[in-house]
Symmetry: C2
Subunit: 178 residues, 2 copies
DNA sequence: AAGCTAAAGTTCGATGCTAAAGAGTACACA
DNA sequence: TGTGTACTCTTTAGCATCGAACTTTAGCTT
């Protein structure tokens, strides 16, 4: 028994034997996305480690940069976007404060709220990671032509729109919001 | 501040302001994959919960089915494929034994080793999940024609080959194995 | 204005994960 | 045959996360 998974095509062939009505085309796309994400995260994790950053910290950094200037978000917002509980955010922020990656202050407009801000250190860390990551990402896509990259990006965006603009109903079906 | 992320295109526009040399085409593909995987996992998680299954348990079930008949793997193999430590596998298997999803027995060829086997109950659970999941997956891909689905699957497979057949070197570069 | 309700974030107890140490087994080589 | 070495799984301690209860504040209702 080798430590590696069967190839994607082997996996789907076996799945089809177990479940006759499975659509191999759909299954291929879905499982490729899942496998790709896992591999990408392993690669990112390795590079983050060399910069003294953990994956959880990197996630928070990304959210703050993604928010754009002035790089501020409420903890609850970050938590929801990352799919975490507020409790987990409290502890993550605690740790990141110690490394001066972020700041935490009370919201002057509502004293129950708190504002998490990105420090210059945090922004520079983000940039370092991105510079390293872009080398890996370019390698990952090296077999695709510019046209293919554009087409791939376009199709993935369409899938994403389908799932980000909709909420699954009680039966798990994706239904349009409006 | 809304709880939702900026759209993918907004995210990339902001990233470009922060990091001029970023390739937006590459970034779009990579971030779309990452976002898609997160959304898919949320959707799967919801459906698993209705079947009394957790995500960790589902991962193990998938590995055993993917191994094909006779649905047996060593704990260490499953751990490596899932990116977990052996210790985590020990505990996962403990929990799954309680639900009769898997069996654990000593390997007759090497008494240090252990063989994890899939029970009929486990196989039926896998099938239930797949039936539910395929509804969601079909919804996810509904905007793509058959040709597009094939092309998308093909391109993703090529990315996957690049990252599954290679090991990043010390600098994080992807290099061919042979 | 006073009290009610909703919302944000922190604290607390329980669970699952990791890293490292430990116990048991197989194999190579003298 | 005996010993060393490598390997596999389990155990243990420490840490991150979750679910739930709690504190504080804002805004609505009467």
């Amino acid at each position: 028994m080798p430590d590696r998974h069967p190839t994607l095509d082997e996996q789907i062939a076996i799945y089809q034997r177990e479940y006759r009505d499975l659509d191999p085309q759909v299954e291929k796309v879905v499982n490729a996305v899942s496998r790709l994400d896992r591999r990408m995260n392993v690669a990112y994790g390795r590079q983050l480690a060399t910069l003294g950053l953990s994956n959880p910290e990197w996630e928070v950094l990304k959210e703050l940069v993604m928010a754009g200037s002035p790089y501020q978000l409420w903890p609850g917002t970050i938590a929801k976007r990352l799919g975490l509980t507020p409790a987990a955010m409290t502890h993550r922020i605690d740790r990141m404060l110690g490394q001066s990656l972020v700041t935490r202050e009370r919201d002057p407009d509502n004293r129950v709220r708190v504002i998490i801000g990105l420090t210059d250190t945090g922004r520079e860390k983000w940039l370092e990671v991105m510079r390293k990551a872009s080398v890996f990402e370019e390698d990952l896509l090296q077999d695709l032509t510019t046209d293919e990259r554009a087409h791939l990006g376009d199709m993935l965006t369409r899938l994403l729109r389908r799932v980000e603009d909709a909420q699954p109903d009680a039966g798990g079906r994706l239904t349009d919001l409006d």
